[in-house]
Amino acid sequence: MTGPGAPAPYAPGTHPDLPPPVRTTGVVGWARQNLFSSPFNVVLTLLGVWFLASVIPPMAEWALVKSIWTAESRAECWGKMAVPEEAACWAFIKGRLSLFVYGFYPVEERWRVDLSFVLLVFAIVPVLYDRLPGRRHWFWYVAAFPFLAGWLLVGGFGLAPVETDQFGGFMLTLIIGVTGISFSLPIGIALALGRTSSMPVLRILCVLFIEFIRGVPLIALLFVASTMLNYFLPPGTSFDLLMRVLIMVTLFASAYIAEVVRGGLQGVPKGQAEAADSLGLSYWKAQRLIVLPQALKISIPGIVNTFIGLYKDTTLVLIIGMLDPLGIGRASLADAVWAGLAREVYLFIAVFFFVCCFGMSRYSLYLERKLDTGRESEK
């Protein structure tokens, strides 16, 4: 401390820029600052270490170290262990992997599912990664992808037709999830714009739609899709069940996306649209170029949250008799040769969902960071 009497080390106006104190750098510095900065923090750190130490080794032992990967039945599997049931029996999952992935899709046609998946990857990359060279041209392909994949999966036009009730497993999850996600975003944005528009009829229609869909459980909508739609359709027409489910899931997610985006729209200062107007941009150009990019950026956490929810809700189709991974899992557990391996099945399915959802969550963080353009201008 420099007391009032002590001479200042620098004359006023000559103080140089100094580097920050070094105490805060290095591993020890980091640990001291982040893990042991207060008694409470010390206790938390020790508790955390104790918890991890007591959970991770047994888990790793069960799932990896002692687990059995080849066996023909549960009995054989447990027989291979020092103590029966002491570890995971992945042989069960391994033997049924193709069922978990493809459901009952005909074996000789499964290359079509694989090809669709590869095409899906090529369709997703240009959407998610904006520095891809020639990204603009890829969008034609992205727009064509749903039709291409639909044709590949369902068949017809030269390919052997496959009934959609043979779809199942992760493939079904991906179909419902990807369709729901990619169609609910544009529909949700349109609904949000409609709900905030100045045209009363349009506004009321959008409000009614959103509130109705949000007010009904997805399960109920799926039941409507599987049973009641027949009453509304002309007799004799059959409308594919999967198609109905896709529509219901998409509409359901759209209503939620609409509300998330509406929140984002409210977060964009009114002056933004006014500035766009004052430059002579039309309503649609102002929305597309100025308002929506900012509103969507604000809405990213909510949108991804909705997508993750939708993705996991795809498991609800189990209730109307579709064989999503959970359905396959339950059917597998009913097999007398293997019964009793519920932990393996549900952990496996949980890991699949976790990987997908965690991926979405990380991508949204990446997107938020990328779109951060410094402190916002005064609102």
């Binding site: 200062p269 006014e274 500035a275 002579g280």
Partner: protein
Amino acid sequence: MATASDTAGPRSGAPAVNTSETIISIEGMHKWFGQFHVLKDINLDVKRGERIVICGPSGSGKSTLIRCINRLEEHQQGSIVVEGTELTGNLKNIEIIRSEVGMVFQSFNLFPHLTVLENCTLALVWVRKMPRAKAQEIAMGYLERVRIPEQAEKYPGQLSGGQQQRVAIARSLCMNPRIMLFDEPTSALDPEMIKEVLDVMVELAESGMTMLVVTHEMGFATAVAHRVIFMDAGEIIEQNEPSEFFNHPRHERTKLFLSQILSH
């Protein structure tokens, strides 16, 4: 500056306007917000090249008046004619007028997700349908004119308030407007930044731009304006050329207002 400055010498009082062509004509205009009568019987003719400063207490309707001129607000009675086109519900007319009338806001309203250069080229590309390269060339020209070409690749959030407001002016100028509207362009700025913005505005005035400026910067009004308009409670109370206006206000409310803003 691009145009010869034969119309005005800065800070020497503005000489008379050199044309008599009316560019904005407002007649018997009224506006209400719900039940609230915010603008009452506004009559105002603006000549090409004329520079008008509008002042008055907060809430007197100054912003609303100039926002009516490019239809950010809709008037309910009377007429507004800009460049020979009457402002009605016709969307095409509104878009045409808006691209001819530049507007600068108190809170800048730059687009935070676009760079400074993109802010400036946006309307050229999407409204004027200009090729990007040409638009960038024009935008850089105006950014140089407001003396911040080196900030072109930055985002608005990375600039100071004064720099942002100069970008906002450049953004409007890119559209080559016939009229510029300013709504308290310096009110949100720290004192040391006010001058850099006013300097740009003075230069713009010298180039012969028609300007309507809502401001309480009386130095600017004296140096640049042909006419000062005083508004209160939605009415134009009095208008005069600057020295008369400041030295010999006629109305009690004008005197009161001037004594308030000049008292500190």
